[in-house]
């Protein structure tokens, strides 16, 4: 897979300094052409471990410095570069000494040097060591800075920020006005604007701790838990469907139970460690008496990913990704095909995790996550379910019996087919299909293996057949006659006589005669014989390999499953995982290819994900959950605290929230990040307490007015001298439109809705991986194909058209215009309109503008004005 860093697209500045290749030379890309050569051929002797001739080629600095004999690379001059000359030398001086480079490889090195030996500064040839990567070091609680006299601080957070601001000589924005702050807090905590009444109440609250009261009120409503559940759904790539899975039903019938679980978890401010543990191993926690059955839906975190046309390795990869990148900010899945090129994650580590998920499967019957109700309705449901299940079981049992008896009763036919398969390699069937009434292919395979076993080859009966089927068709009769006279195998006399009597000329005739004798003798006692193969040896597809019977099976199965999903009185279930009964260690797949199994993968949680632990029971999910939620784990809490910060400030302290590895950005305030991580754990893993702290800090409360000099010195506001205006994401925009138009249906939880115009909060929309409504993607709703660290923000006219022309927007505009009262009383109406939509009264000029507009417009004027407000930047940006 293409994992090279992006070197040539950094921008125009880079192009200006690029030494263009001479005529006839291909431009050489260090990453693509040179680095792999160094890694493969040079670093063993000239790298971090050994430095023969004091030369290291693992970083730009070392390489350009050279070794004992001075510089080895002279950019632009290959002929003056010892490195290049050594490649060309005769046997004695030649490098590498054992396996010389190919002509093409040498030419690449030459061209690379002559093109200026471009080697991007930050690129180190070998992966970082765990000890080098800041994010893998256990956070220690840093001392809290003393602060700066000139900057008032409300929380230790402010001292960390003030220190840097002061050091860089930046000015600070003032604290924003209360109206702005309340609106901002409302969006951060609930994803909705405050109602005008709430706004006024807050502004009139003269209590000294009015702000704390306001925050508590925002926390208390369900809106907060819904908003933060949705944030978490970005991480957990939530969708209500599986993606493309051929003819199967792609719906997750109870995906919403996971969403409900999230909402409840945020409402209860569930301890974050427990919140994570449940999502990885609720089943194991329940089993070991450490977790409630109500937590089972939490496993949707793992189970509700895409199903990639049912390719199990892709499913496992996705689960590794959601845990490692989603929770830990590590791009572990890079190591599926090769060791991670930048971070200390090896393939061995990847396949240790792979085996954890390979040993975790969906139970055939999804579990209930609470006691079923004792009602007549449920009892009726259960009875019907049993009836349907019995039909299915019966069908399978009968089909199996039929296969076995066919192989006895139509033995001759089976023997002929078996002969044609003899010696042929097993076929890699992508679709194992037969016609009805053909011998069952899986049963035939068992026959073949059995016939070819040493015991049967020397068996008086089957050994004879094994020889007969090996006879060539030419002169069959004669050769058979000779064989029958042969006394090597003591075949029963009547069998031999029976075949002789039939005078078979072909194998088919011989098979008939042979079968005629043998069929009667097939013992039901012989456990290992193919005609007694137990039902459990077959998968469904193997038992029903032809389309018509497969269809009958699917039909009955569907009747069971469908009833379980939506039969009258059916209780909801959890999309859970369970451990396989007999977990097996996995293997490393060379180049990521399951057909090329390599060495066994260790049964451990690998240290490279932050902390190690041996796997002692089951799949290892429980150990995984315990390891990453350990208080000393360097990543889980840092990544979460960073996300919370990002939600409050628009950017995280680490601006690559899904990549804390060496290719991600380092934190802008590393000590602050660690301080927050530490205090988060000390505060009892409470997200709500963390939010309370951040939202009560002076830094968070700063205005969006950019102080003088800040844009020049810190254009991206990394030092947080001010807050930045932020655009609402699609959910917040749509929910706000519903709220201000008075249409928002406040009901909480329950199944998803497929109606884009339904007046419920947007997180309840049905998300189909295969068919995400275009408008959602156009508003940068994240693709649920994989965990999403951060929303994109694009601006397109398609978004504007939705606001201008879609009936949803119209209904909202009508609602808003109506809520503002009688538009004939233009002043009052305008006042109400602004207070509802923008949580502030209009300015004089704005009142005049609106009044003028209403005068010019006909009866549709008020709705159009309301729509303009909904479409305005002020509605969609939060200061």
């Amino acid at each position: 897979m293409a994992c090279k860093p992006q070197l040539c697209w950094i921008g125009c500045a880079f192009w200006a300094t690029f030494a263009f290749p001479a005529k006839g030379e291909e431009p050489v890309d260090f990453e693509k052409h040179i680095r792999p050569l160094f890694v493969e051929h040079c670093l063993a002797c000239h790298g971090p471990k050994k430095q023969q001739a004091s030369l290291r080629l693992d970083s730009r600095n070392h390489a350009l410095t050279g070794g004992e004999s001075g510089k080895v690379i002279v950019p632009g001059k290959p002929d003056a570069s010892a490195l290049y000359q050594h490649l060309l030398s005769d046997a004695e001086k030649r490098m590498p000494p054992k396996n010389p480079l190919s002509k093409e490889q040498i030419t690449k090195i030459r061209d690379w040097i002559s093109q200026g030996a471009n080697w991007p500064k930050e690129t180190v040839v070998v992966a970082a060591k765990a000890s080098d990567l800041w994010a893998l070091k256990t956070p220690v609680s840093p001392p809290i800075p003393k602060g700066v006299a000139s900057i008032p601080c409300k929380d230790p957070i402010d001292r960390f920020i003030a220190e840097k601001i002061h050091k860089e000589g930046l000015a600070l924005a003032p604290v924003a006005d209360p109206r702005t702050l309340y609106r901002r807090a409302s969006f951060v905590l609930t994803g909705l604007p405050p109602t005008p009444e709430k706004m006024e109440a807050f502004l009139n609250d003269k209590r000294p701790d009015a702000w704390q009261w306001a925050l508590e009120e925002l926390f208390e409503g369900t809106a907060h838990s819904e908003r933060w559940a949705r944030h978490w759904m970005d991480v957990s790539r939530y969708s209500d469907t599986k993606g493309y899975v051929f003819f199967q039903d792609g719906q997750y019938p109870w995906s919403w139970a996971y969403r409900d679980w999230l909402i409840r978890a945020f409402r209860e401010d569930r301890r974050f460690d427990g919140f994570i543990k449940a999502q990885i191993a609720a089943d194991r926690l329940l089993e070991t008496g450490r977790g409630p059955v109500e937590d089972l839906p939490a496993l949707g975190f793992l189970a509700l990913g895409g199903r990639f046309m049912n390719n199990n390795h892709d499913i496992i990869d996705d689960r590794i990704d959601v845990v490692s990148r989603g929770l830990l900010g590590l791009t572990v899945t890079c190591a599926r095909c090769h060791d991670h090129k930048f971070d200390p994650v090896s393939m061995a580590d990847y396949y240790s995790l792979h085996s954890v998920f390979a040993n975790s499967v969906e139970p055939e019957v999804p579990p209930l996550f609470g006691a079923p109700p004792i009602t007549p309705e449920y009892e009726a449901f259960r009875k019907e379910l049993v009836l349907r299940e019995e039909k299915l079981v019966l069908l399978i049992r009968e089909k199996h019996q039929k296969n076995l008896s066919a192989s006895k009763e139509r033995l001759a036919e089976h023997l002929i087919v078996l002969q044609t398969l003899r010696g042929k390699p097993a076929q890699d069937d992508f679709m194992l299909l037969t016609d009805p009434n053909e011998p069952n292919p899986t049963l035939l395979k068992r026959w073949r293996v059995w016939l070819d076993s040493p015991a049967q080859k020397t068996d008086p009966i089957w050994g004879l057949w094994w020889r007969i089927e090996g006879l060539p068709p030419e002169g069959f009769a004669q050769k058979l006659a000779l064989l029958l006279q042969d006394k090597i195998i003591q075949s029963p006399k009547d069998l031999v006589a029976g075949i002789e009597k039939a005078k078979p000329n072909t194998l088919a005739e011989a098979a008939k005669a042979f079968a005629g004798f043998v069929t009667k003798t097939l013992s039901p006692q012989d456990r290992n014989a193919p005609w007694n193969t137990p039902q459990a040896a077959f998968t469904d597809l193997e038992l029903f390999p032809d389309r018509p019977s497969q269809a009958v099976l699917q039909d009955l199965r569907k009747k069971v499953e469908q009833w379980r999903i939506d039969g009258k009185g059916a209780p909801p279930r959890a999309h859970a995982l369970v451990d396989t009964p007999d977990p097996k260690p996995g293997r490393i797949y060379l180049r990521g290819n399951p057909l090329r199994p390599g060495p066994e993968a260790a049964r451990i949680i690998p240290p490279s994900i932050g902390r190690s632990m041996p796997i002692t029971s089951g799949s290892g999910r429980l150990e995984l959950a315990e390891t990453i939620t350990h208080a000393q784990h360097p990543l889980l809490v840092r990544v979460w605290v960073n996300r919370v910060w990002m939600t409050c400030f628009g950017e995280g302290l680490v601006r690559t929230p899904g990549d804390f590895g060496s290719r991600g950005e380092p934190p802008t305030h590393p000590e602050l990040l660690d301080h927050l991580a530490h205090s988060f754990i000390e505060d009892g893993w409470s997200t709500r307490r963390l939010l309370r702290r951040i939202l009560s800090s002076a830094s968070w409360a700063r205005s969006v007015q950019i102080p003088a000099g800040s844009l020049e010195k810190d254009p991206e506001n990394r030092l947080l001298s001010h807050q930045s205006s932020r655009r609402l994401d699609f959910e917040a925009l749509r929910d706000s439109m519903l709220l201000v138009s008075g249409r928002l249906n406040p009901s909480v939880s329950g199944p998803s809705s497929k109606d884009l115009n339904a007046p419920r909060r947007t997180l309840y929309l049905h998300i189909d991986r295969l068919q995400i409504p275009g408008i959602l993607r156009n508003f940068d709703f994240p693709s649920p194909d994989a965990t999403s660290p951060k929303r994109d923000q694009t601006t397109t006219p398609i978004q504007a058209l939705w606001l201008l022309n879609n009936p949803f927007g119209m209904v909202c505009a009508e609602g808003l215009a109506k809520r503002a009262g009688d538009s004939a009383k233009a002043d009052a109406w305008t006042n109400a309109l602004f207070r509802i939509a923008l949580q502030r009264p209009p300015s004089k000029e704005e009142t005049t503008t609106i009044k003028d507009f209403l005068t010019k417009q006909g009866p549709d004027g008020p709705v159009r004005a309301a729509q303009a407000l909904l479409a305005s930047n002020e509605f969609t940006f939060v200061d």
Binding site: A2, K4, P5, Q6, C8, W9, W15, D29, Y244, F246, G306, M309, D314, T331, C334, Q427, F430, D435, T656, G658, G661, V704, I706, L711, S724, S725, R727, L770, Q771, L776, N778, D780, F781, S783, D785, A786, D792, Q793, T794, T795, T796, P797, I798, A800, L801, L804, N805, N806, M810, S843, T849, F853, D860, R864, A868, L869, S872, N873, E874, D879
Partner: protein
């Protein structure tokens, strides 16, 4: 960015902001994308591309190569008999060789051999077609093969070719989505995954128009208000602009948020104009009758006429599908079905190429014709009247946009079963297409989840033999 005074000035700066994917707000996009930090502006290509836009005529279901562009006389000789060497494994049960029911002949100065199914196109354009006869895919199933052809990966969610083009090239026009998918009567297999943007921003995904609709207002969502006409709205747009300008004045600092606010203001002006202009683009009624006759008043005729109009307005990629489901998947009754399908395509394609040529657009428009795979030279059981899926070898052709016309490239075996001479993978095809558009396929990368992804993953080589 300079200070502006009026909405007009703001709007006039459009050309200055030229970006993605609606010629819009690169600043807004670039500064707020987490993964790329400023990397969503169009990428300087490594070299000038011959092609500026792509049309993909997608014969979904898998047209038969031996009945269209890859003549195999031996099929006649072996009709009904098994392939002499061991037959390749097919997805379903197949029997002996099936001869092509269609006549082949040589066309043009190049003597390109094409079957009667594409007689008109070959008669006029044989010397412009570059037929790749040695394509191969990975498996004989529609789903992975469609995804491979469209996104370069058979299983995993990856951005489609069109999304990559927008990422790389940006757009020329402003009033239309830059990647448009025309598919009449429902969706093909795997649906919108065929044109998704996956981890690229949502704005890069293809916009699907159901071309069985003839009413232009029904083609694209939200283009028209239920009851208000555009004149009704001018005042409203002015009100909006006024409110926004006042809001912007309260945010004078030129940071990313300021740029995003400006971009959003601009997007409303664009949207306002798009209502009329996009409707104009989708409305074929002003096309001269003589041209309509040439294209033919059929779904595909209208699709291709619409395609040309979209291209003229700066759309980067138009993917034109045969239809919902998998029309070319003729497991039986191939004779009649291939005949009627090609009849529905031949005249429109011929007229379309003519039209592009006349307007001087063919030279910088890359046209690709083909399916997700081909079909077996052997007949499928039990009907013996059709062909099974064949990923071992199949044909596609390209025209315009810097390809070498009047040529065939590579070859299948004597029966047209498997690509044996100079085989071309789908990744190679993608690499070549990107090359024609001015991109090194190894350099057009996007950082996501710690990796630099590209359309061709770790594969693909530019097939020089296809270049003019």
């Amino acid at each position: 960015m300079k200070q502006k005074g009026s909405i007009l000035e703001l709007v006039n700066r459009r050309g200055f902001l030229g970006a993605l994917p609606y010629g819009l707000g690169a600043t807004a996009m670039a500064l707020t994308n987490p993964a790329t930090a400023g990397d969503l502006t169009p990428h300087p290509s490594r070299f000038p591309g011959k092609a500026k836009r792509v049309v993909h005529l997608f014969m979904n279901g898998g047209p038969s190569q031996v009945d269209t562009f890859d003549p195999k006389p031996l099929l006649d000789k072996y009709h009904g008999k098994p392939v002499p060497e061991a037959s390749l494994r097919t997805e379903r049960k197949t029997a002996g060789v099936m001869r092509s029911p269609f006549k082949f002949q040589k066309y043009g100065q190049s003597g390109l051999e094409v079957s009667e199914l594409f007689h008109l196109t070959a008669t006029r354009h044989a010397d412009r077609l570059c037929v790749v006869r040695s394509m191969f895919a990975e498996v004989p199933n529609h789903e992975p093969s469609l995804m491979l052809m469209n996104t370069g990966d058979g299983r995993l969610p990856r951005p489609s070719l069109g999304s990559w083009l927008l990422y790389g090239l940006g757009t020329e026009g402003e009033n239309l989505p830059a990647f448009v998918v025309l598919c009449p009567g429902g969706l093909p297999i795997v649906g919108v995954q065929n044109w998704r943007s996956a981890f690229l921003p949502g704005a890069f995904q293809g916009v699907h128009l159901d071309t069985s609709q003839t009413d232009p207002t029904k083609l694209l969502e939200n283009l028209k208000h239920q009851k208000w006409n555009s004149n009704d709205r001018r005042e409203q747009m002015n009100l909006l602009a006024k409110l926004n300008l006042e809001h912007l004045a309260k945010h004078p600092g030129k940071d990313a948020a300021h740029a995003a606010m400006e971009a959003r203001m601009e997007s409303f002006e664009l949207a306002y104009r798009m209502q009329a202009e996009a409707l104009g683009a989708l409305d074929l009624s002003d096309e001269p009758k003589i041209l309509k006759d040439r294209y033919g008043d059929t779904i595909h005729g209208r699709q291709l006429m619409l395609t040309r109009r979209l291209l003229e307005r700066g759309v980067r990629m138009v993917q034109v599908w045969s239809g919902g489901g998998q029309p070319w998947d003729n497991h039986d009754g191939l004779d009649g079905q291939h005949r009627s399908l090609s009849r529905s395509w031949d005249q429109p394609i011929c007229a379309f190429l003519d039209d592009l040529l006349q307007r001087g657009m063919l030279e910088d428009t890359l046209v690709l014709w083909g399916g997700e795979f081909g079909r077996t030279p052997v007949a499928e059981l039990p009907g013996l009247s059709g062909r099974d899926h064949n990923h071992y070898g199949f044909s596609v052709w390209m025209a315009g946009g810097g390809v070498r016309g009047g040529t065939t490239y590579g070859a299948t075996d004597d029966f047209g079963f498997q690509a044996v001479e100079k085989p071309v993978s789908v990744h190679d095809l993608h690499a070549t297409m990107l090359h024609l558009l001015g991109f090194d396929h190894e350099k057009l990368t996007f950082r996501y989840a710690g990796r630099d992804f590209r359309l061709t993953d770790v594969h693909g080589e530019v097939v020089r033999g296809l270049l003019a």
